[in-house]
Every structure is written in structure tokens, then in C-alpha cells.
Symmetry: C2
Subunit: 316 residues, 2 copies
Amino acid sequence: MSRHRACEKSKGRKGLVPRVVIVGSVALDTIRTPFDRKKDVLGGSLTYAALASSRFAATGAVGVVGTDFPARWTGLLAKAGVDIRGLARRQGRTFRWSGVYQKDMINRRTLATELNVFADFRPDLPADYRRAPFFLIGNISPALQLRVLEQAPAARFVAADTMNLWINTDRRRLVKLISQTDTLMLNDEEARLLTGRHNLAACAEALLAMGPSYLVIKKGEHGAMLFSRRGIFLAPAYPVGEVRDPTGAGDTFAGAFIGALAASGRVSDAAVRDALIWGSVVASFSVENFGADSLARVRWERIVSRRRELLRMMKV
Amino acid sequence: MSRHRACEKSKGRKGLVPRVVIVGSVALDTIRTPFDRKKDVLGGSLTYAALASSRFAATGAVGVVGTDFPARWTGLLAKAGVDIRGLARRQGRTFRWSGVYQKDMINRRTLATELNVFADFRPDLPADYRRAPFFLIGNISPALQLRVLEQAPAARFVAADTMNLWINTDRRRLVKLISQTDTLMLNDEEARLLTGRHNLAACAEALLAMGPSYLVIKKGEHGAMLFSRRGIFLAPAYPVGEVRDPTGAGDTFAGAFIGALAASGRVSDAAVRDALIWGSVVASFSVENFGADSLARVRWERIVSRRRELLRMMKV
């Protein structure tokens, strides 16, 4: 049982328009850690983020899979409450990624990337999705991210992620995209690469000057920092006892953030802080197991209880 | 004006017994960063920690300097309220350390270590000091740390630091020391080296099993984690805008922690959490300038105001 289903019961469904639309990749990941190895597990930024967001708010997914994509995974997404009308199925193989984690379970090396059907991905939003208020646009090329925004002129709140590839190859369009987002989410290394500064407070100043109201710098196991003109919020990561697979943690964090924010019904500094805590909590479950599907199996009560625990760990 | 002076006025001085005794090194540091270079600045774990602790509680310093130690530094310590009767002056040169920081201002390489008079350091506590309730024992050899404890059988609260050298060369005595401390303070790498585990929650379990009531794992710019049987506290670091010299930040953190705890008059989970926040705040000032002497120049009002700011950054 997730929070938004309880909310919907009282408010009633408003047609088919999702509260949140998430755009990103769907992948089959092959992952090696010092302790384990798994082949073709359910992965991709869209998958992790949508399974996290759908815990809080009706979420539409925009992505592409190949003809080899297992029906049980589309079934799992649908059963988890993710609206998959925006998930295109194309002739060919699904995007595949494989990587190996070092002993620190943080640094990783990519062994292979097969874009397959993802190479020709052009996000086209179903008509209903275009009226959604909250958007999370994962790290596809800035050109495609801008294409999403063009289809959603009435979006109330847009969060976007990026990665080093686009910072290095298409900075011009990336800067244009950033100027049109409400929240830019990236990790510490990307913030440094994009601004040419090392100190994160200095990075934040430069990035907020590009236009977004909020900047979230993700620091993995060290949590995240929120910067805005109203100040700084230090969101800790929940200290997980055993990390089995860190893949997708940042996407889960972003997905739970946008979902919780959409569910809160307001965009304020307090609501954004609260949503980031939900992000930390749900992300902590994603690293405990391989595959995004493990997220769908976490009971809502455990999420609520871990949030309470994390808040106690922050209390002076 | 520091907090404890205000307190003392109302309580009255209790003889010459300090509330806190700190044992550690006094050094003259030569430091190179990508941006600057300074020769023979005031350094050493004792110096940073005592200047931080003395902001909160009457603090006695136990260490050794050479005949070349500048009188203006002993003058500065005394003027800052540090009781320097435990600071021995020996024939020879003061301990010298030099190092160079990488661009990240975190990783550093030691260029030279000249132990000089510190090589023969034997901590001998003045009679009054032996009745002090709070002790912070910096990272000297475990044999010497145990020697301090033998001289303070009535200590109410003992915090101790260590380093990789002792973990590798004298684990047996280090484990004995840890079993006799109330709070073990070390950094994440040391916690991993000492336990042979990577995950910090797993390290914490192993370290608490050695006997201390509290474990503080210092993570530099990522803050600190407090572990105890009562749970976890995540103490963030204050996000400093410009780091000029990170040397001594961990010692400053530990010094402000023990001083604030001693000033609070109680040892409880809440008091320990509060003291760690004071640690983060005072440490943030130490990285803004070269040399421990810069700590003495920070006005108390700025410390109080930055603490308020940090608490706002933690508020959900």
C-alpha cells in the first residue's frame, strides 16, 4: 500500500493525466560486484525512478524497450501503478549495460554499453501526459530533454538530471535546458565538471546563476545537498547495513523526490526538503538488492518506518 | 567572549582543575596547497583541539615543544584561556610536519616529518589535571595513551583518537585502550583498517563491541557519524565556501566536541549530539585559514551564528 493510493481514494482520479511524468532509459543490466554477479536484471534510470515515484503519485513513464523485453517486467511496472502507455516497444533488442563495482561499492567501471533500441529513442508524450504538472527528465541528450519540455509547455515543476557525456559534448543545449528547469539534479563530479570549480558551495552559486530555483547535488552514500536562494539543506543518506548493488540509487532518489513533491501538493522550501528525505529513504532500499524490481517488493510500512528512523538520526 | 567564561562567572572557579585535559602534539607545519604555501605555521593535534575546547570549558594542555617554539604562540594559547602548565619545554627543536594538498583539498601527501622533541614525549600530567573529568587523548602511541589513563583513574569521560600507524604496529595495546575509552574518534579509513570491513555500519558494530559507549567516525567534508547502543546520529559538516587549509580540522572537531560536552554538564545521547554540532561548527572555521592561531581570532558571536545556520540546514 503506498501513500498516493490512499490519497486518491479521497480525492478521486482526475482522468488519465498522471501527476508525474518521468523520461529516461529502460535497460537490462549485467552487474558484477566483489560479492556477486547478476545477468540481465531490470535497470535503467526510468525504471528505478518510476518505481520510486509511483509510491507517492500517479506516474507516467516515457521510454523505449525492445521486442526482447520480458513481459513480466512490463507487468511488474503496471502492477506497481506505473502508467506505461508512454513506454514504446520497438523492433530490436533492449538497451543493455554491464559494469563492475570496486570493493568500495561506489566506483565502477563500465564493461559494455549496447544502446540498441535506445539509440533511436525520441520521447513522444501521450496527449494526457502533456498536461501533467511534475516532470523528471533523466539523463538523455539535452536535445531530447528540450524536446520533452516543448511538449509540456504547462509543466508546473521540472527536474532534470544530466551526465558527464553531455557536459562535454553539448554544453550549449545543456545550459539552455538548465535555464528552463526548476530543479537541476546532478552528482558532485558533474557539478564540478560543469562549473570548473571544486568547492561545492562555489559550484552551487554558478549553477543557480544558470536559472534553476533549486539545485540538488547528489553525493551517493554521503547524502545530497539542496541549494536555493533560500539557503542550504543537508539531506543525509540513510546508512545502509549491507550494500549489494548501488546501481540506480541516484535515479531512485530522484524518482522518490519528484513523486513525494507532487504528492505534497505544494512547491516550497519545506516541501522540497521533505521530498528529498523521501528520496534518501527509498534510495536506501534500492541499494540493498539487485534490480529495480526489488523496489516494488518493499512494503510501504518499511519505507515509512525507515523515514522515521532517518529523521531521528538527524535530530540534535 | 566564549561560552564557558560566562558560565564560570556564575559558578565560580573550582581551583585549578581544568574541566578538560587534552593530550597531543604541538607542531610547526609547512603546508602547500594548490593556491598557497605557508612555512612554520602553528599546528599539531593538541594545539587545534585545545584552542577549540577552550571556547567552551577550562582546558589543560599536555604536550611538548622545543626551545625554538615561538613565545608568541605560548602567549596566544595562554591568552585564549588554555592552561599550559602541562606543556613541557625541552631542549631541541619543535616537532615539524610538512605536506602538500591535492586539488581536492582533501587528499594530501606528507613531504617530511621531523619528530624532534616529540620523539621522546612522555605525557606527565600536573597533579591538578589528574582530577579533571573530561579527557581527549590525541593520536600518540597506544602505550602513551594508556599511560595518560593510568594517571587519571577518576576520569568521567575519555575520548581518544588514533591513526593508521598504530593500527598497523600496535593493535594489541590499541584494542586495550579502546576498551577503556568512552568515545573512540577516528576517520572512515581508520575504521575500515581497524575492522577489516568496508561498510561503516558494519565497522561501527565491530568497534562498539570493543567497549566504548560512543563511536564517532569522521568523514571530513561529509561530516561525522555517531554510533552508540542508542542509535545513530548523522552530524553534517558545515559547507565552507572557501577551504584554504584543511590541516587540523579533525582535531578542531574533536576539541570543540569534548569542550562543549564538558560545558553541558551531562553525558547523554542528546548532549553528545549537541557537542558534535559544536565540533562541526568550530572545525568549519579552522579550514578557512592556515594555522591553529586563526581559531583564536574567530569571534564567539560568529561561532554561535554559524551553529544556528547549520541547524537550519538540518531542519526538515
